[in-house]
């Protein structure tokens, strides 16, 4: 996988994960282009389209488009399964995930993605294991948060 984009039906980017080195300008340009192309697709069309020398695999879940750009030799059908798996993970984590969850907790969405996919390839095929790792990491985060006294909060110490 070269990149994954999540965007709304209005074309607003909700998540962008790049597995190839590109400048910010390039990323912006590519995102704009791909979003435009995907949004232009009609419902009856298949989930794959050719773009430059890549294949775009996309699927819409409620108000969000999940879009992956894969290389020519990749299996498009299994890529759809990868997308679906990611949605399932989000769903399990947030409990019936919706776009707002991803907007307000975008960093968590990234953490989950990074536990599922590394360098563009799936690193863990068990849903349970991914969620367990996230859970543990979240706990670590909570423990690490040193309790702050009230005085600290108002700036008196």
């Amino acid at each position: 996988m070269q990149f994954m984009l999540l965007f709304s039906r209005q074309g607003k980017l909700r998540l962008q994960k790049w597995y190839v080195p590109l400048s910010d300008t390039q990323k912006k340009k590519i995102s704009r282009e791909v979003i435009q192309i995907v949004l232009a697709r009609k419902p009856k069309m298949c989930s794959f389209l050719e773009w430059r020398d890549l294949k775009i695999v996309y699927k819409r879940y409620a108000s969000l488009y999940f879009c992956c750009a894969v290389e020519d030799q990749e299996n498009e059908l299994i890529t759809l399964e990868i997308i679906h798996r990611y949605v399932e993970l989000l769903d399990k984590y947030f409990g019936s995930v919706c776009e707002l969850d991803i907007i307000f907790n975008f960093e968590k969405a990234y953490y989950i993605l990074d536990e599922f996919i590394l360098g563009g390839e799936a690193q863990e095929t068990s849903k349970k294991n991914v969620l367990k790792a996230i859970e543990q990491a979240d706990m670590l985060q909570e423990e690490a948060e040193t309790p702050r006294s009230v005085l600290e909060e108002i700036g008196l110490t």
Partner: protein, 841 residues
């Protein structure tokens, strides 16, 4: 006094979302950015994490966030896990390997790779494996390799993918990971298995040595795959009843790479492939994903024919699937296999043709490509019906490709000439404006070759013109045909269908209409003017034609004007040549390479090609010289001139003038007239006949042999060939025979060429030309004329025995002459002042 705590991330998000306009949002962002900047300046550790998180949100909205890059690094260096989490995320989003800043991460990552907490190690591995630059990879490869050997499966699986990234960035490092791969596949953990297979795949794809090395893993891979299929329900890895489809697909892909080209490996996996192909549940996408990968593997390895048929049948079933995604991948795969398994794919032809009517653009395109691949002599009629129907209704994007495909197929498999012409007509009338430019000359060539269909063709084209003159390729082909076969049109000779009654004036009306119409492009106008001109020898309405031609002599369009002027000249000065010039074109030979860039095309390429810059470069030259007049009509048209000239014997002094290479594009003729006879005794057109040799002064495909010299018993003949690898090289073989009583000894053939030429003289067979034609001397000359300049040849012979008999004999010389009247009208051919006429670009 300390600043109030920066607002929390969620609060910021909420606030920004309340903005009703872009401007309002921008204002909020700018305010917050300012706050964040000052917070950064204060080196506030407590809230750095929160601020960077907010910055990342704003970055996602499209606002610049580069001032946060260093802060990310500080977060990574922090001891708090929360900080590291955000820091690494920020690094992945904001930093890129192009900036040196990213290298500052290297040390932190190194430390974190050795951290006591596996989740920190995981963050480091993830970041390195996602965006590590080559330098970072070089520095940290050792750490990754270490982690690849750990027993901690959480880390091991990440290390494997990190290694993949390292290898992609720095391929030379691949070797160092080899030892660690030894027992990767013995792992039970699916995550490790999956990433290990990915790593092995990457290594095998990059190195043939690795590939051979890893072939021994085939049995193990087959076992793992078998276990996945046979084992019962495993809740952890189950997807719709299939156990770990991701792993299955990856294993199948690796097997494909290992089995390709290797009989033993292919055999070892034969059974498992058959098993997967037959047992996999196909009701959901996930099952089909596995089947798809299986099919790809079967087709790529050396599988038994039974297995291959099974694979193609799976694809055939895919084509009938309701799911358009499945249909799409089926068509893609079939396209890949149609060459190798043609017959098997043919069985699914009707389903494929049905896909032409699919709503999805990608499916339609694939179906079209596949349809063309499946057309053969048996199904041409049926297939063409479907394809023509498709052409009618498809998107404009497709029409050009479809039209080209139809032409190609028609040419290969046309069951009859009439069918062929009809098909062409159909394409031109339905998609005439989408037809590619190079189709026009190709079609014209096709039409000339169907001699018995000329009347029918011109009639149909004429009728099409009456309906619609907007589609330029159609109009061009039609004009050309009317120009050529107008006589057949008015004489009502059509056999194939009811001949129409049309008068000369009506035809001229149509052609003149094209000239004035706004719809006609300049190229089209050129075609029609030339067509009108040609009709001057086929019709009797000479005056009308003359009038038209003279009107366009002052046309604003330079091309048109030039043509008109020259045609005018044809009427006035060279009227005696006109019939011969405008004679019917002979059948054109199609050369092997007939692409648009091929300049050495058929003889007598149509005049219209002059405007087509894809053809001979010399054509695009705005030839202003009057003697290009005859060039315009194409080489073949010049043939009659030469045929009517009387070959005169070369004069003695001064030598003859042979238009050596120019002559060669003609389909043969006797010895060209020498220039020495030019001045007074011959009518002027002979002179022009020599100078205005066809535009194709590079040697045509077929060059007839010629007698270059025939004097005093010595005959030298040239035979020509085009050098095989480089068609710009002419290979001339000379044969010298001697019919006199005495041997000609010390026979030496010399040749000299102007600077732009290159000449290579190979050794002659002998120096003695035996008497009484008892033998011959042969010698090969290779001439390269890269600038495609006209070349004239002046023969002079030198021979020992001759020296005693005649006085003026001098070496054979290939000279180049300036194409100007002054040089040719005088017989002063010894003048060495020769200029190159660059007839090409």
């Amino acid at each position: 006094m300390r600043m109030p705590a920066p607002i929390r991330l969620r609060e910021l998000i909420r606030t920004i979302r309340t903005a009703r306009t872009q401007a309002e949002e921008r204002e909020m962002i700018q305010k917050e950015c300012a706050a964040i900047r000052s917070s950064f300046r204060e080196e506030d550790n407590t809230y750095r994490c929160r601020n960077v998180a907010k910055l990342l949100y704003m970055h996602m909205l499209g606002y610049p966030a580069h001032f946060g890059q260093l802060e990310c690094l500080k977060l990574i260096a922090s001891q708090k896990f929360t900080d590291k989490r955000i820091g690494y995320l920020g690094a992945m989003l904001l930093l890129d390997e192009r900036q040196d800043v990213h290298l500052l991460m290297t040390n932190c990552i190194k430390n974190d790779l050795n951290h006591s907490t596996q989740y920190v190690q995981g963050l480091a591995l993830c970041t390195l494996g996602c965006m590590g630059s080559s330098e970072m990879c070089r520095d940290l490869a050792g750490e990754v390799e270490k982690l690849l050997k750990t027993s901690n499966s959480y880390l091991r699986k990440k290390a494997a993918l990190c290694a993949v990234h390292v290898i992609r960035k720095v391929p030379e490092l691949m070797e160092m990971f080899l030892p660690a791969t030894k027992n990767l596949l013995s792992e039970k953990n699916h995550g490790v298995l999956h990433t290990s297979v990915v790593l092995l795949t990457e290594m095998c794809e990059r190195s043939p040595d690795m590939l051979s090395h890893f072939r021994k893993l085939v049995p193990q891979l087959v076992r793992i795959l078998k276990n996945l299929i046979m084992s019962g329900y495993s809740p952890e890895h189950d997807v719709s009843g299939i156990s770990d489809p991701f792993l299955q697909v990856r294993i199948l892909r690796l097997l494909r790479i290992l089995g390709k080209g290797d009989d033993d490996s292919s055999e070892a996996m034969n059974d498992i492939l058959a098993q997967v192909a037959t047992n996999t549940e196909t009701s959901k996408n996930v099952g089909n994903a596995i089947l798809y990968e299986t099919v790809l593997t079967i087709m790529d390895i050396k599988s038994e024919s039974g297995l291959r048929v099974l694979a193609i049948n799976i694809l055939g079933r895919f084509l009938l699937n309701n799911d358009k995604n499945i249909r799409y991948v089926a068509l893609t795969s079939l396209l890949k296999t149609v060459q190798t398994d043609h017959n098997a794919v043919q069985r699914h032809r009707s389903t494929i043709v049905d896909c032409l009517k699919d709503l999805d653009v990608s499916i339609k395109r694939r179906a079209m490509e596949l349809s063309f691949a499946l057309v053969n002599g048996n199904n041409i009629r049926g297939m063409m019906k479907e394809l023509l129907y498709f052409l009618d209704s498809c998107d404009p994007d497709f029409k050009a490709d479809c039209a080209s495909g139809i032409f190609l197929a028609a040419e290969k498999y046309a069951p009859s000439k009439r069918w062929h012409i009809d098909t062409i007509m159909r394409v031109l009338t339905t998609a005439g404006s989408y037809v590619r430019d190079d189709s026009v000359p190709n079609l014209i060539q096709l039409i000339t070759n169907s001699v018995e269909m000329h009347a029918y063709t011109v009639q149909r084209l004429y009728k099409a013109l009456l309906d619609d003159i907007s589609q330029q390729p159609l109009v061009q082909v039609a004009s050309w045909c009317i120009g050529e076969y107008g006589d057949l049109l008015v004489s009502g000779q059509c056999e194939e269908e009811e001949p129409i009654q049309v008068s000369e004036d009506e035809v001229l009306d149509v052609l003149e209409g094209l000239l004035v119409s706004n719809l006609s492009t300049p190229v089209t106008r050129g075609y029609s003017l030339t067509a009108i001109m040609k009709l001057s020898t086929r019709f009797s309405s000479l005056n009308r034609i003359k009038k038209v031609v003279s009107i366009y002599g002052s046309s604003i369009d330079v091309e048109l004007q030039q043509r008109a002027v020259e045609y005018n000249a044809l009427f006035k000065k060279y009227d005696h040549m006109r019939p011969a010039l405008l004679e019917r074109m002979p059948i054109m030979e199609k050369t092997a390479t007939n692409g648009p860039s091929e300049t050495v095309q058929t003889n007598g390429e149509t005049d219209s090609t002059i405007l087509d810059t894809k053809h001979l470069p010399s054509i695009s030259q705005p030839a202003s010289q009057a003697n290009d007049l005859l060039d315009l009509l194409g080489g073949n048209d010049v043939v009659p001139i030469i045929q009517t000239t009387v070959p005169t014997k070369p004069a003695s002094a001064g030598g003859e003038l042979l238009d050596l290479l120019g002559d060669l594009s003609l389909t043969g003729g006797p010895t060209p007239t020498p220039a020495s006879s030019v001045p007074m005794s011959q009518p002027p057109f002979l002179l022009d006949g020599l100078t205005s040799q066809p535009l194709f002064n590079d040697i045509a495909a077929v060059i007839p042999p010629m007698t270059a010299y025939n004097k005093n018993g010595l005959i030298i003949e040239f035979t020509f060939e085009r050098s095989n690898p480089n068609p710009n090289i002419a290979v001339i073989t000379i044969h010298a025979t001697n019919s006199t009583e005495a041997d000609m000894t010390e026979f030496v053939f010399q040749a000299a060429v102007p600077k732009t030429f290159q000449l290579q003289l190979l050794s002659p067979s002998s120096n003695v030309v035996p008497a009484f034609n008892q033998g011959s001397v042969t010698q090969v000359i290779r001439v390269l004329n890269p600038q495609k300049v006209r070349c004239y040849c002046e023969p002079r012979t030198h021979s020992a025995s001759y020296r005693s008999r005649s006085s003026e004999i001098s070496p054979f010389v290939l000279k180049h002459l300036q194409k100007s009247d002054e040089c040719l009208s005088g017989a002063k051919l010894n003048i060495a002042k020769l200029k190159l006429r660059a007839a090409s670009h």
